[in-house]
Symmetry: C2
Subunit: 227 residues, 2 copies
């Protein structure tokens, strides 16, 4: 059976991506990174999703708090709410974590090679996250080249393949695909904040809510207040 490492954050996109890997016939190893996130909600979601699929789940802790310049790794920077996000959107968002996808793909590549796997699935999206340089097709093409020339299996002619099934999809398309594949969206967590329920106000919640609305599907997760 073909084997794939799936980067699983516990959000909508990575969960849909895991469902794609299963649907493509892969035995899945889920890989989650604890990189000094501001809350552990995502990891709990990732665990539930991996359990749902009876997938082996590896959680790697890596303290990335030395990356001071991102709101997702630093306590000093505030995750922007929708009201303050407009000025940020014109540039690269403050939630951009320097070299995050590069680091996660690197670990996934090591694991995949170690396990004799064939592919890495990553739920990057260049539509909604157009401000992130490491979510663009040219980044993944460049990284594929690194795996071709810089890993043992690459040099030996069978490089690990990076697969980005939702790279060019809108959020509504992702929601529809996830629903079609029966992905357990009730377990997913997309909110940038770590409350009991999703905040409904951060960029990530707004994107998600818009996606469900456009898809005409009810979001199974709960939101704070009147959202």
């Amino acid at each position: 059976m073909k084997k794939a490492v799936v980067l699983l954050s516990g959000g909508l996109d990575s969960t849909t991506t895991l469902a794609c890997a299963i649907n493509d016939g892969y035995e899945v190893i889920a890989l989650s990174m604890l990189y000094g996130q501001r809350h552990s909600k995502e990891i709990e979601s990732a665990k539930k999703v991996a359990e749902h699929y009876h997938a082996k789940h590896i959680i790697v802790e890596m303290d990335m708090s030395f990356l001071h310049s991102s709101a997702l790794t630093s306590q000093d920077l505030k995750v922007p709410s929708h009201n303050s996000a407009s000025e940020v959107k014109a540039d690269i968002p403050v939630t951009y974590v320097p070299a995050r996808n590069i680091s996660m793909l690197s670990l996934a590549a090591g694991l995949c090679e170690s396990e004799g796997g064939d592919a890495i699935y990553i739920g990057a999206n260049s539509v909604d996250y157009s401000g992130y340089p490491d979510c663009r097709p040219e980044f993944f093409e460049a990284f594929q080249k690194v795996l071709n020339v810089g890993t043992k299996c690459g040099v030996q002619g069978s490089p690990v393949k990076i697969i980005t099934p939702i790279l060019s999809m809108s959020k509504a398309e992702i929601v529809k695909l996830a629903t079609k594949l029966g992905a357990p969206l009730q377990y997913t967590w997309s909110c940038y904040n770590g409350g009991e329920k999703a905040c409904g106000h951060c960029d990530s919640c707004l994107l998600r809510l818009k996606g469900f609305a456009e898809a005409g599907i009810k979001d199974p997760v709960e939101y704070e207040g009147s959202i």
Copy 2:
């Protein structure tokens, strides 16, 4: 002042590389990774080297024990001594850590970008470690492309530059360069094993000893027994 992140393992090569960065006029941030090494000797060496240069030193812990296929991260695989190494040398060595340099460069890239740095120095060597795919020039060229297209500073026109000062040098040339630059070689640790003194028998010790011998310079570190 220009700023560089230097990957510092505490060995001869990375210490020489740090000395090169200082000599090139950079303010240096040393970055060491604890990746489930079998001993902590290297990290102690790295600390002493960084202190010697009064460099900021960041140590990142990352449990890479989930990479079962390398002798440097797994307790189950034996680091080859010289006697058993010949069969391994024809292929990629068992001490190859899947995607290690990729992972270390990724973290260095994140740190460098976060700190507003200009360059990453890495003491990779394609002469003595010709069996490692991630020590070859084509790997570093491919990774540079990743930084150009996949990071914020790259997209904005000022990518972090990967500098590999000793990539094509023999071990003897490295020893001579280190000595010329006044690098504190007495603090360095190259041995794959974690004894009180260097073993003098592992591939890494043998390479180092050969380098010093060919350079006509006395190795300041102590070795076990009669070596």
